[in-house]
Symmetry: C2
């Protein structure tokens, strides 16, 4: 039997053109594509003749097990993640489920995370040090999230919020803003990147004082500037440092 292998593929934000050449080749090469149904639907037409296996949103461990099983059965498998395969992606879970075995062979193929793709949509908000924080408390106590928001604000990081709100948790963004406003001024510049690389892609700028009242869902990424971030020519820019040459 041929030895199977498993690619953990970051698809990037959504548009085909934002995938890497390596990701595209892995999807061409593989027999089986495993993923969350919404992301698999984004690529299904482009890679015909594949076996597809999908699961609903929160079944990450099931998806990883399905992918490992198919690879053990000799298939070349692509387990797809939106954005990067590592950053909040499934690569760690796949490795953890394989444990100390060396087979099946696993290759992590990175993809554009929303810090990169959403930043490009808004301008260039991450030219200096930044924190990435998920507001999902499904696997993380809210106290940990709160401590990280507070630390990020105190040390003048730019901040990128992933999962700023989701079905059933619409108030997370507003709560995060209240925490940040204990340290940061209301006029701090913020940007929202929506549906990056997909139909309905849009961007919006506002102040931190306004941010908590804005519509946000799981297809949004929120950027909070540092003390030097400004709108210039309609784009959100953070300079490279405090002493520009």
């Amino acid at each position: 039997m041929t030895e199977g292998k498993l690619y953990v593929v970051g698809l990037g934000p959504g548009a085909y053109e934002d995938m890497t050449l390596r990701a595209d080749r892995a999807l061409e090469e593989c027999d089986t594509i495993v993923g969350y149904s919404v992301y698999v639907d984004l690529i299904r037409d482009r890679y015909p003749g594949k076996e597809y296996a999908t699961t609903p949103m929160t079944r990450e461990a099931d998806r990883c097990r399905m992918a490992l099983e198919a690879a053990r059965a000799g298939k070349t498998v692509a387990l797809v993640c939106s954005g990067d395969s590592g950053i909040y992606g499934m690569a760690a879970l796949v490795y953890a489920l394989r444990g100390e075995d060396t087979l099946p062979e696993i290759t992590v193929i990175p993809g554009l995370t929303a810090a990169c793709s959403g930043g490009a949509l808004l301008g260039a908000p991450l030219t200096h040090d930044f924190c990435v924080i998920s507001l999902s408390d499904r696997l993380t106590p809210w106290e940990t999230i709160e401590a990280r928001l507070t630390a990020a604000a105190a040390a003048d990081f730019s901040v990128v919020l992933y999962n700023p709100a989701s079905r059933g948790r619409p108030e997370h963004l507003r709560r995060a803003c209240e925490i940040l406003l204990r340290t940061l001024p209301r006029e701090r510049l913020c940007g929202i990147a929506r549906s990056i690389g997909r139909p309905g892609e849009s961007r919006e700028f506002c102040t931190l004082g306004e941010l908590g009242t804005r519509e946000a869902d799981m297809f949004c990424t929120v950027f909070i500037g540092n003390s030097a971030t400004r709108l210039v020519g309609g784009n959100m820019l953070t300079p490279r440092g405090y002493r520009e040459d």
Copy 2:
């Protein structure tokens, strides 16, 4: 005269396959490629028949002005950055130098930043919240860098260090470790990704207590795990959250 335009292109870590399809197309389409000579040399053979304009390492503003001038003269220009074009890249400087003008048209094409590509090389160290901090004090006071390291450690972020050392500043990584060790235990897991996607690519794992004695240069990216980060099957993994399902 045709209107020129300017693409600010993130090349990713170095290998052609790690570029996005959009970046590859912009480089095919453009007349002129502008960049730091080392990065331009990585792609020169692949895009023949282009005009090339290069400058030495620290002349970012000169490169941006050259690119804007060529676009104003009607050329389609690709200004190339290693990694992402936004994250510590030149997109903000290009926008700032264009100011409130709307021409030439600027399109930022994101690329894989070392947090993504180095993370994939090491395993999956960034599955949870993280900070990205540059140790270069060329444009940032060291006190700011120190405050950010301290805040990141206190709030249990994973940390990615860009520019951990450079010619003339070999001691920055050791100083950063001393600061982190005021808060974090010596056995905290760390990883070093070297020359990602280029000849000599390698990875190394060590503890935070050992990290300050390790060789690091400007082609290294350093990852410091959070309290849950572990080596599993030879890979550096951070779980998605504190309560795994």
